[in-house]
Symmetry: C2
Subunit: 315 residues, 2 copies
Amino acid sequence: MLDVIEKAKGRSVTIQSPGTVANLVCGFDILGLALNDPCDVMTVKLIDRPEVIIHNVDDYNLPTDPQKNVAGVPLLDMIERLGNQVGFDVTIEKRIKPGSGLGSSAASAAGGVVAANHLLGNIFSQNDLVQMAMLGERLASGVKHADNIAPCITGGVTLIRSILPLDITGISSPPLYVTIVHPQIEVRTEDARQILRKQILLKDAIKQWGNIAGLVAGLMKGDYELIGRSLEDVLIEPVRSILIPAFAEVKAKSLEAGALGGGISGSGPSIFMLSKDEVTALAVESAMKEVYTQTGIAYYTYVTTINKEGVKIIG
Amino acid sequence: MLDVIEKAKGRSVTIQSPGTVANLVCGFDILGLALNDPCDVMTVKLIDRPEVIIHNVDDYNLPTDPQKNVAGVPLLDMIERLGNQVGFDVTIEKRIKPGSGLGSSAASAAGGVVAANHLLGNIFSQNDLVQMAMLGERLASGVKHADNIAPCITGGVTLIRSILPLDITGISSPPLYVTIVHPQIEVRTEDARQILRKQILLKDAIKQWGNIAGLVAGLMKGDYELIGRSLEDVLIEPVRSILIPAFAEVKAKSLEAGALGGGISGSGPSIFMLSKDEVTALAVESAMKEVYTQTGIAYYTYVTTINKEGVKIIG
């Protein structure tokens, strides 16, 4: 390993790390997908000392203390795994707004370890990288979860069957367009977790797992109708959507405009909708804009597709 | 329709109707599969009067009053849908023991309507047939459920995403062997339903739907390892298995013998295990026999494969 580290010292790499949609409607905590837009850009350089130096080149004022930075904590873990023989200088250009529900913390956490691993000749496995990156998620939300990290690293739609032990599987999917509206309000992941009921009805859980099974089958078969019918969440959405202004109206108008279905992205406040084609995805965007313009709340929208590559080396 | 009925009168058909495994481990109420063994044999003949006549050619003493017979009730419904212009004479040779947990009632209910529909030139859709056959399940257990009926009719592994509205999808699967032990004790479906908790923990439900998604993905990918890891039920099995003598030991020894996994078939008392190949399936059978011989409880075993055809016309 010493050889690898020696060779890599001084070298740097620039990567693009995608935004992600976790808690894919009925797939709460287990299904996520990667987006082609927005993406963060990060440059990681190997340095001699076992430390992480963070430079932010954006306006979000995120912490530069690596112990408090979601990219820093996973890299500190990697340094320890490497026997403290190397460190990383990291420049982060964040384009995924923190707190958007679009996997901003996962993009930093995953982007950093994938870039560092690339410089080291890919000595860590994908599972190792997910384990390290999840430490960033724990810092951000108090909970180790992988449904943003896994799709961010691998691209596509990802199933996290289990966290302990870690069990990640890619789910193939037909072409899908994703329309997102990001209202400029804050929903803290911790708050969104706290309002969930700890006890649920067995009959509701059965409905939910019927839908999850239907969604996985629909994606793998490329059956858009089945995907649409399965995009229903009877447990989480009814509780969490109260934190998101005009959620019900956005959803209703998006479905009217032809969306297959959708829901809260991550723990919100972004709302995402899946469509079969670009024309529909653009019509959904118009519908979302119309609703949000009426609320007076500032918002961004995205019309994008599923990112099949995950974190990508660009220089 | 009158023409069709006139032409069919007096004609008869003999079918084989397969046993089924419902509540496929983590797929409680939504996943089932059809078996090549055991199967019932039924002969259905069209008659002039709008009534159902039932002959049992086995030793189970099942009711011959069609209102009280699980094959009779669905056929009475079909007669009504046909405007009371026809009736059915039904001979049932039951080889799937009632109360085994191997879909005995579904085999009768589904077999009857598929046979009758065949005689009528398949005028009813698959969904119609499932709807009618579910009336037999309601008679047997008090609950309309389709996770035996659907695989019995279509063959293979079947997902019932929803009952209302009915939404059935076939799930492709790699070759799988099924080993079954049927202890000769009675577990009433109603009792097995009653002991279930109505409220469950959200965190347990999340584990369960991770496994369901993993099982569907594993089956469709032909990934035996993933199938094995996903065959885990944290909600139903811990409660229901107490009704089945030596369940834990049968399961442990089966896994030791190389089974991918398994659990309670339907609501029991049969226990089923899936294996990748016949040699393993036979080793699992030996392990099951060893455990049950020690208990002193009489039992049958089956080593079979997934039935891909469902109800089959044989004459």
